[in-house]
C-alpha cells in the first residue's frame, strides 16, 4: 500500500542526489569565486586610496618571509637533492652525465621551487591567516573594527595580500638557488658529476624565460594564498569549531588552487 500523499515530492534517488550534489558544488564554487573577486576589488580600492599601513605590510613581510626562511631552505635543498639523486639513478650510458645539470636546474626552477615553497606557505601562512581572522570574526573583533569606522579589508586583508605578492617571489628565488646548490652537491656525491659539468649541462638547455616563468608562478601563488586564506577567515561562522572547520577547508582550497594553477602554467607560458 502506497502511503505517499498525492502532492508529495518524489523520493530522492541516486540520479537526483547526483544532480543536487553537482548543483551544490557549483553554487559553492561560484559563491567563493564571487567572494574572492569582491575581496580582491576591495583590496585594490584600499591600496589605491592609500589606506594601507606600510608598517603593517612590513610586519606581514617579516612573518611571511623571515620566519618562513628556515622551512623554505630545508624544502628547497631537499627538492634539489632528491631531483639530483633520482635523475642520476635514471641516467643511462646513452645520455651524457652533464644532462643531469639541466634536469636538476630546470626541474627546480620551473616546478619544485615555486610549488613546494607555495605548499609550505599554505600550511605555515595560509592556515595561520585563516585561523587568526576566523577567531577575530567569532570574537566580534571584525564587527568592532566596522563599528569604529575602520575598514577591516584595509587593516587586515590588504597588508597580508601585498606581503604575499612581494615575499613569495623572493622566497622562491632563494628556494631555487639553494635547490640548485644542493643538487650540485648531490650529483657530485651520487653520480660523481663535477660542478663544471653540472653547470655546463645546465647552461646548455637554459632559457632566460625560465626565470620569468618561475617568478610569475611565485607572484600568482603569492597572491592566491593570502587572498584565499583571508576570504575563508572572514567567512568563518560559529565558535572554535567553526574556526577549525574553516581553517581545514581553507588549506584544502589553497592546496587545490596551487596545484590547478600550476597545471595551467605550462600551456599558457611554456608554449
Amino acid at each position: 500500500m502506497n502511503h505517499q500523499s498525492p502532492g508529495a515530492l518524489p523520493r530522492h534517488n541516486a540520479i537526483t542526489e547526483w544532480f543536487a550534489g553537482v548543483g551544490r558544488t557549483t553554487y559553492i564554487t561560484l559563491e567563493h569565486a564571487g567572494g574572492l573577486g569582491i575581496l580582491f576589488g576591495q583590496i585594490v580600492v584600499a591600496i589605491v586610496s592609500l589606506k594601507v599601513s606600510i608598517r603593517s605590510v612590513l610586519n606581514q613581510m617579516y612573518i611571511m618571509g623571515i620566519q618562513s626562511l628556515p622551512i623554505v631552505l630545508v624544502t628547497g635543498s631537499l627538492a634539489g637533492i632528491v631531483t639530483s639523486q633520482q635523475g642520476g639513478y635514471q641516467m643511462t650510458s646513452a645520455v651524457p652525465d652533464y644532462v643531469l645539470g639541466s634536469l636538476v636546474v630546470e626541474t627546480v626552477v620551473l616546478e619544485m621551487g615555486p610549488v613546494l615553497t607555495a605548499l609550505v606557505l599554505v600550511g605555515r601562512i595560509g592556515a595561520r591567516i585563516t585561523a587568526e581572522l576566523g577567531t577575530m570574526v567569532v570574537s566580534e573583533q571584525i564587527d568592532a573594527f566596522k563599528s569604529l569606522g575602520r575598514d577591516p579589508v584595509a587593516i587586515l586583508a590588504a597588508p597580508r595580500v601585498i606581503a604575499g605578492v612581494l615575499v613569495l617571489p623572493l622566497l622562491v628565488g632563494i628556494a631555487d638557488l639553494i635547490g640548485i646548490l644542493a643538487g650540485v652537491q648531490a650529483a657530485n656525491i651520487t653520480v660523481g658529476l663535477g660542478q663544471e659539468s653540472f653547470y655546463f649541462g645546465a647552461r646548455l638547455f637554459w632559457h632566460s624565460w625560465d626565470l620569468t616563468y618561475s617568478a610569475t608562478k611565485a607572484i600568482v601563488f603569492g597572491l592566491s594564498i593570502p587572498l584565499i586564506s583571508v576570504h575563508m577567515g572572514l567567512k568563518t561562522k560559529g565558535g572554535a569549531e567553526g574556526v577549525g572547520l574553516t581553517t581545514t577547508q581553507a588549506v584544502m582550497f589553497m592546496t587545490l588552487t596551487i596545484l590547478i594553477l600550476d597545471a595551467m602554467f605550462p600551456p599558457l607560458l611554456l608554449n
Partner: protein, 257 residues
C-alpha cells in the same frame, strides 16, 4: 533618537518578523527577551553590522539603509557600541585598543600626547587605573576589566548614542552591579541616548527610563519599568518570573562559590 521600522531578518529561520521600536533622544532604554530572540541582531542592524532583509533604521534622522555608505559611516561616528564579549583587539595594548575609538581621520591628525590624555580620561571614566593597564594586552586583563576597556573604547569618541550588547554577561553579581552603575553614570554624564540589551531584567528595570520585550520576532511589550512589572500579559509575566528565579539562583550559586 533611534527608530526601527518593520525590521525583518531571517538566517536559516526567521529571527525578526516586523520589529517597530523607538528610543527617544537622551533616553535609557532596555531591551529584554529570551535567548535567541534576536536582541543582538536588532542592535547590530542599528549600525549596519547585520543587514535587515526588510525594514528601516533611523538614527537621529539619518536613514541607515537608504543613505548609502556615507549614511552608515555617519551613523557609526555617532554611535558607541559595547560588545557582549568586549571584542578587544587581542594583538593591541589597552592604549591602542581605546585609542581606536577615536575616529580615524581625527586620530591621524591628533598629536600623540593629546591621544594619551584622551585615553587616560576615558579609562578613568570607567573607573580603571590607567597607569596600571595601559601597556597590558587584553589576555592579561580580568573579565570585568575587559568590559570596562571595551566601554572606554566606545565612549572615547564622545558618541551621541551608546549601544550596550549584554554588557553584564559573564560577570559575577558584584561586577554586574558595578557595570550597571557605570552604565547609568556614563549615560547621565555624557548625556547620550542608551539602548541596553540585557538578560539582567532587574538591573535593566532599575536603571532604564523605558523597557521593551522582544518575543517571537516582534516587540511584545514596550513601556515604563512599572508598567512592565504590572503587565498582565502571561508571556511577559512568565519571563519576569523566570528572570527573577534565575537571578535568585545566581545569587545562591555565587554565595556557595
Amino acid at each position: 533618537m533611534i527608530e526601527y521600522r518593520n525590521i525583518h531578518k531571517a538566517f536559516d529561520l526567521p529571527v525578526l518578523t516586523g520589529v517597530d521600536m523607538r528610543v527617544e533622544t537622551g533616553e535609557m532604554f532596555a531591551l529584554f527577551g529570551p535567548s535567541g530572540t534576536g536582541k543582538s541582531v536588532l542592535l547590530k542592524t542599528t549600525i549596519g553590522l547585520v543587514l535587515p532583509d526588510m525594514g528601516e533604521v533611523e538614527v537621529d534622522g539619518i536613514s541607515v539603509y537608504r543613505g548609502g555608505r556615507g549614511a552608515v559611516e555617519a551613523v557609526r561616528q555617532k554611535v558607541g557600541y559595547v560588545f557582549q564579549h568586549s571584542a578587544l583587539f587581542d594583538s593591541l595594548h589597552v592604549f591602542d585598543n581605546v585609542a581606536m575609538g577615536i575616529p580615524e581621520d581625527v586620530l591621524a591628525r591628533m598629536p600623540r600626547n593629546e591621544t594619551a590624555v584622551k585615553v587616560w580620561e576615558a579609562l578613568e571614566l570607567v573607573n580603571l587605573e590607567p597607569r596600571e593597564i595601559l601597556s597590558k594586552i587584553p589576555s592579561e586583563l580580568s573579565g570585568g576589566m575587559k568590559k570596562r576597556v571595551g566601554i572606554a573604547r566606545a565612549i572615547i569618541g564622545r558618541p551621541e548614542v551608546l549601544l550596550w550588547d549584554e554588557p553584564t554577561t559573564g560577570l559575577d553579581p558584584i561586577n554586574t552591579a558595578a557595570v550597571e552603575r557605570l552604565i547609568e553614570q556614563l549615560s547621565t554624564e555624557l548625556q547620550v541616548t542608551s539602548l541596553l540589551v540585557t538578560h539582567d531584567v532587574e538591573g535593566g528595570l532599575m536603571i532604564c527610563d523605558r523597557v521593551a520585550m522582544l518575543d517571537s520576532g516582534t516587540i511584545r511589550f514596550c513601556g515604563t519599568p512599572d508598567e512592565f512589572r504590572a503587565c498582565p500579559d502571561p508571556v511577559v509575566q512568565a519571563f519576569v518570573d523566570r528572570a527573577a528565579a534565575e537571578a535568585a539562583l545566581d545569587m545562591v550559586s555565587e554565595s556557595y562559590d
